[in-house]
Symmetry: C2
Subunit: 106 residues, 2 copies
């Protein structure tokens, strides 16, 4: 089961879980209350998220609090960077064209 972060965020439930625990840590039961699936299904998603180090577990008695490993999210940002460069460039090109049009109008 070779998971990567892109596969992890592909599932809409997992993205919802990420959003849920982004600000405060939660237990599997508390998370599952927000979905129409069983706790076990959520547990499976959490396991996948944990496998690619997107979430962190904190044991407290018999409860486990899951929280987002925000630094891991930067990997997506890093991947996006190459494309951000492209869309910035294209925007600048458009900008150039627009300013040329403006100039010619004068």
């Amino acid at each position: 089961m070779r998971r990567d972060i892109f596969q992890a965020i592909a599932d809409p439930t997992r993205r919802a879980i990420i959003a849920l625990i982004a600000l405060q840590s939660m237990t599997p039961n508390a998370i599952a209350e927000n979905f129409n699936t069983t706790r076990q299904a959520v547990s499976k998603h959490l396991r996948i998220l944990a496998e690619c180090e997107l979430v962190k577990q904190q044991y407290q008695g018999r409860e486990i609090f899951y929280s987002l490993e925000i630094n891991k999210m930067k990997e997506i940002d890093k991947w996006l960077e190459q494309y951000r460069k492209i869309w910035d460039t294209r925007f600048n090109q458009l900008d150039k064209v627009l300013s040329t049009i403006k100039k010619n109008k004068k």
Copy 2:
């Protein structure tokens, strides 16, 4: 078949295709040469990418040139934004802690 952009970029081959056609448009055959799969498999990937408007097709005789719809990529960026805010905040908090430590050393 409900496709979204996150599902589209989940597959490594599709991410490679995206990278390939990011700078110049290419035909399915030309794209397929870069992979160990058949042209038809690539064609299927292209169809998925087209379905969620990540690629644009340009017909030229019997050839079809595919190019990246870079604006669509911004959707990922937009989704990331909420988390970027979080990691910026946490970084600033860390920064605060570090400067406090520094101060106390003096």
